[in-house]
Symmetry: C3
């Protein structure tokens, strides 16, 4: 029989369960981006980011929810939606460290075309998160298309640097 | 030291762990569809649905496991398998509410062709589930191809309506 | 009120949480392969495998971490990276049984080309894992491209054989 004091076992279990819940919450955050931007829900997309959250890619550098909402409302994005789009992340690797977390993985943007579906953008991503009183929020998402250049591998390799 | 009564902490932990297990079980259910239909295992595909479970898409409206099994046995599906197919869901967002649950996300059907692989169908999905004595089962799956029309966004936006 | 002895409830919770943590660890292992091989990190890729771990596919049959590292360093793989590649698994189904585990699912290798992105390889996979003092490691990964032949369905159907 385990003779660890009951309080200690409960404390340990609560920490472990909390960590699993954090992972689930962060996957939910990442996986909400697609349904938000593919339906043109600028408010839902913006609400995933902290007030000082940054979305940095080879396409743009946006700071804060209003800038992200403006991107969704913009003609470039609206045109993408009108054709039929799907923003689909792969299952990323999440790392939680107290009130901070990060994730590393791939994302794809699909477009519907007359000839079927194409992967328009396939990107390497690194996300950073902060636990807030509104739950986990994105503080930074950096992505770059995979095109054979050094930028995308530099993003992905952060997974191993952090280990 | 946490002075919450031990019984209360155990109760809370059991609820939280049960919720995490429910999420895992629902992902397993969703992710079993591909291996079932891509191997022509009609029984396995049908067994994911409740007796009154509905599979509704722009292609068909099927009610109950026998109708789903018949779809798998049908010439359209058999022809798809013979060429080489892969039904791959993206990581969906799952919400569990007691004995009911739902999920929202994307699915792709890939076909092997002489020129390589194509995404033949890329769809928005909303699943509903019920906990039964055989575990979680699908009570309704609604999907629609993403083609720029309003149907697919209407499916995805349920994620935010439910929130 | 639940009158199960506190020790028994703690034991049961620890087992259940351990199982959830095992699933997360195995997803992490599977999802680390892409960032490792797409950045040319041979050591990180090799370290996912047990000393006697096997990577078997229609392309090659590799035994042990050094053989896997050599594959990453090889000209075929280096050429793939130079063009821009992404190895993306779908969300697999994981089954944990004590010190052993398995997973079944799909993987894709994307290549960047002058015309955009193509799915170069779309494969059925079955992984086997062993818990070691370095955590979970791959003891065998078998994959085969989905091409309409019987090999890929034979891999996927193991999911139902194991059930």
């Amino acid at each position: 029989m385990d003779d660890t004091p009951v309080q200690d076992r409960l404390d340990a279990l609560e920490r472990r369960v909390g960590l699993l819940e954090d992972e689930v919450a962060i996957h939910r955050l990442i996986n909400s981006w697609g349904p938000a931007v593919d339906t043109g829900n600028a408010e839902a997309a913006a609400s995933l980011f902290a007030d000082d959250g940054i979305l940095e890619s080879d396409l743009s550098y946006l700071i804060g929810p209003p800038a992200i909402a403006a991107m969704v409302h913009g003609e470039g994005h609206q045109s993408l939606i009108r054709g039929g789009s799907a923003h689909i992340p792969a299952f990323p690797i999440v790392r939680v460290e107290g009130e901070r977390a990060s994730a590393t993985g791939y994302t794809r943007v699909y477009r519907h075309t007359d000839e079927g579906y194409e992967v328009w953008r396939l990107s390497a991503n690194h996300w950073e998160f902060r636990r807030t009183d509104k739950g986990w929020l994105v503080t930074r998402r950096t992505n770059h298309v995979i095109d054979g250049g050094p930028e995308a591998p530099a993003i992905l390799t952060q997974l191993f640097d952090e280990a």
